[in-house]
């Protein structure tokens, strides 16, 4: 299988609750996100184990939504992944 590297954005949080709250707010704005384990390489010391994986074309809308709702998060990190984030079976 050919490698399909693609830049995605991971929103990192200090707690799962922050992440769940952010996803609720994004849902209200009609923005898709997927809960995913935060890649270890970008977690740093503070990140919690979960992240919201955002497709690159949605990141501006996400930033606008965050600015509007003042939702709390730790960091937003662009990161290359070869995993297809289109799988959103559980949330």
């Amino acid at each position: 299988m050919a490698e399909q590297k693609k830049l995605h954005y991971y929103i990192l949080f200090k707690t799962y609750t922050q992440g769940m709250m952010m996803q609720e707010l994004l849902k209200k704005d009609g923005i898709k996100s997927r809960i995913a384990p935060a890649p270890r390489a970008i977690q740093g010391e503070l990140g919690c184990g979960m992240s919201l994986l955002i497709e690159p074309e949605l990141i501006d809308a996400v930033r606008e939504s965050i600015a509007k709702t003042k939702a709390e998060y730790h960091d937003i990190v662009p990161y290359e992944t070869n995993i297809n984030p289109g799988r959103n079976r559980f949330c």
Binding site: K14, Y16, C48, G49, M50, F90
Partner: protein, 380 residues
């Protein structure tokens, strides 16, 4: 069996609560410990419960809802987490041991304690609370409703006093959460402590706190959090700061369903129904020869509790007869509220507590009335 011990725990749970727990036990992983389906199921159920409870109590944010095992754990976290050596704390004679014992422990460790007296009806004078405030007063800790008499405290008035003097207000809502409207912001409550298995109609082993954003609570426990693994210190962010270890997500699933049930049934409908049964029982036994009822029944709004003694009969023996001869479950003896018993002068005899649920019926009440009358007649 006629179950009239709902102030100890509501035995009859809504079917949706039972179903939610069973469903959780067969499907849920560990909340906040991964992002596979089973873990996410649990994470979402727990987060959903936080959102519902935040709405129920008008918390500032779902993050300010902390899950614990019961009111006792909540009160220990609150009391030991905000009071320091040299601080002064005010509480009342109406309190349960879950308030008193942590406060006595803090007193032994160098804090000061004032206990506001209750009268023969089991009421405190709110002015006494304000008059007890000193320059080093850190907190007021008091119950919303007495587990012994069912008397309510005017929490909003006490909250206003606490705000006026810049004192942290901690409320024990063990007997009232789920039945009486509690708006932590309107009532000036800094830390609300509740249990899930009484009026909330959830499973035992569930409970929680609602903590104001501007109040810093020192954690009682530290350890596993599922986040910030490489830090030596437990995370400071709420609610993780006060939730070390795996949550009782199976129980929280039941509690979440219970909040749905309360919202769908209507808290006011639940309250009016159980109060109607309580008043029916009270009115039918209050004038029976030999029956002494404790508490203040001059106010319509009170917990659905009627605590009595019959002549000088040992309360435990009365309760034993009630169960063995009539199939009626009640709570006798002391009720973990030693100062309240002293105020009511029932330290020796204890008392028999009848406590009602909206699931009880008029037939349950009449059976209990009949039993009380028959037992009282034995003295003649």
């Amino acid at each position: 069996m006629i179950y009239l011990d709902n102030a100890a725990t509501t035995m009859h749970k809504p079917q949706c609560v039972v179903d939610a727990v069973v469903n959780a036990l067969t499907s849920m992983g560990n909340a906040g410990r991964g992002t596979h389906e089973a873990s996410l199921d649990a994470t979402m159920v727990v987060f959903g419960a936080r959102m519902k409870l935040a709405q129920l109590f008008n918390a500032e944010s779902p993050e300010q809802i902390v899950f614990t095992a019961n009111s006792t754990q909540s009160l220990n976290i609150a009391i030991k987490g905000v009071i320091n050596k040299g601080d002064h704390v005010i509480t009342t004679e109406m309190e349960h041991n879950s308030v008193l014992r942590p406060l006595y422990e803090m007193e032994e460790n160098g804090s000061e304690l004032t206990i506001v007296k209750a009268d023969l009806l089991g009421n405190i004078n709110i002015n006494d609370v304000e008059n007890a405030i000193k320059s080093n007063t850190k907190a007021i800790v008091c119950t919303h409703g007495s587990n012994l008499t069912g008397n309510l405290n005017d929490i909003e008035k006490i909250g206003a006093i606490a705000k006026k003097h810049g004192v942290i207000f901690i409320v024990d809502a063990s007997q009232t959460a789920g039945v009486f409207e509690i708006d932590v912001q309107k009532m000036g409550i800094d830390i609300l402590c509740f249990t899930g298995h009484k009026g909330m109609l959830g499973p035992q082993g569930t409970g929680g706190m609602v903590v104001a954003k501007n109040v810093r609570v020192r954690p009682l426990l530290s350890g596993g959090s599922g986040v910030q693994t490489y830090l030596k210190k437990h995370p400071e962010e709420m609610p993780t700061a006060l939730e070390a270890g795996t949550l009782n997500a199976h129980g929280i699933a039941g509690l979440s369903a219970a909040v749905d049930y309360i919202n769908e049934t209507g808290m006011e409908n639940i309250r009016k129904r159980e109060q109607a049964l309580m008043w029916d029982f009270y009115n039918k036994i209050k004038d029976v020869d030999g029956v002494k009822v404790y508490g203040d029944f001059s106010k319509e709004e009170r917990c659905a509790i009627v605590t009595v003694n019959i002549w000088d009969f040992d309360s435990s023996q009365v309760s034993d007869v009630l169960y063995n001869d009539y199939g009626i479950s009640t709570r006798p003896g002391a009720h973990c509220a030693p100062l309240m018993h002293s105020a009511l002068q029932t330290g020796e005899q204890g008392a028999v507590r009848f406590s009602f649920s909206h699931f009880n019926t008029e037939e349950d009440v009449d059976a209990a009335v009949n039993a009380v009358i028959e037992i009282a007649n034995e003295k003649r």
